[in-house]
Symmetry: C2
């Protein structure tokens, strides 16, 4: 798998509101994956991914214990085209005003996040390696 | 996450040709995910998943070294509905006549698999735990 930074066409693909799965590791190293929203950003030349989680989710514990995650973003029109990322969580921070989840909800749904009650946290991850298929073939 | 066996409505969902991602573990335990075809079957009451891989793929090595995998199947119409599985590879076997990949290709594309040259292997996995969201909420 090539190392980051990501090429421009992959960055353009990641800018779309693609279906995505995120894998975290349980205490014994077993992988577990779920569907997730994400936002890709380039910060000082590094590829970063914003994820946001309900504080009650077990995957918050997972990434605080082991920051290694896998992400796969699927093209909504033809999921043979997809991009896989190996990334590492840099930090997990509170999202008290729901600013981050609202950014994600606007990106995916064009509206603010409906649940204003449950506490949420944001995780910023740095992309380390990537792999592309279909139109995103590396 | 509830333990297997899967309820009937989850089994019905998994019978569809859903987009799916599969996570394997690298030698150092880092997770890496890709999109994949799968078939779900019930064998003697146990939930099994058939996966098929080009023999040259690194994930074949991964599952031979560490059989723990994660799968997430997304509803094609609304991927908020998804099912996540923790599974364990029981065996990796050659698919010399491409029988298994043709089953998968028929399921997903309604035709035999186009590449008749590259050697392929099948992996059978047993589902251990599951988690559902959206219409599949556990």
């Amino acid at each position: 798998m090539p190392e980051a930074p990501l090429p421009d066409d992959v960055r353009a693909f990641l800018a779309k509101p693609n279906p995505c799965t995120m894998t975290t590791l349980r205490k014994d190293g077993t992988p577990v994956s779920v569907a997730t929203w994400y936002l890709h950003e380039v910060v000082d030349g590094a590829d970063k991914v914003l994820l946001n989680m309900d504080l009650s989710r077990v995957r918050v514990k997972h990434v605080r214990r082991d920051p290694r995650i896998a992400l796969t973003m699927l093209d909504e029109a033809d999921w043979y085209t997809h991009v896989s990322l190996i990334a590492r969580i840099d930090e997990v921070v509170d999202d008290p005003d729901l600013t981050d989840i609202d950014r994600l909800a606007q990106h995916y749904r064009g509206q603010e996040y409906p649940n204003r009650e449950s506490p949420r946290v944001s995780a910023w991850a740095t992309v380390e390696r990537w792999h592309g298929w279909g139109a995103m073939k590396d």
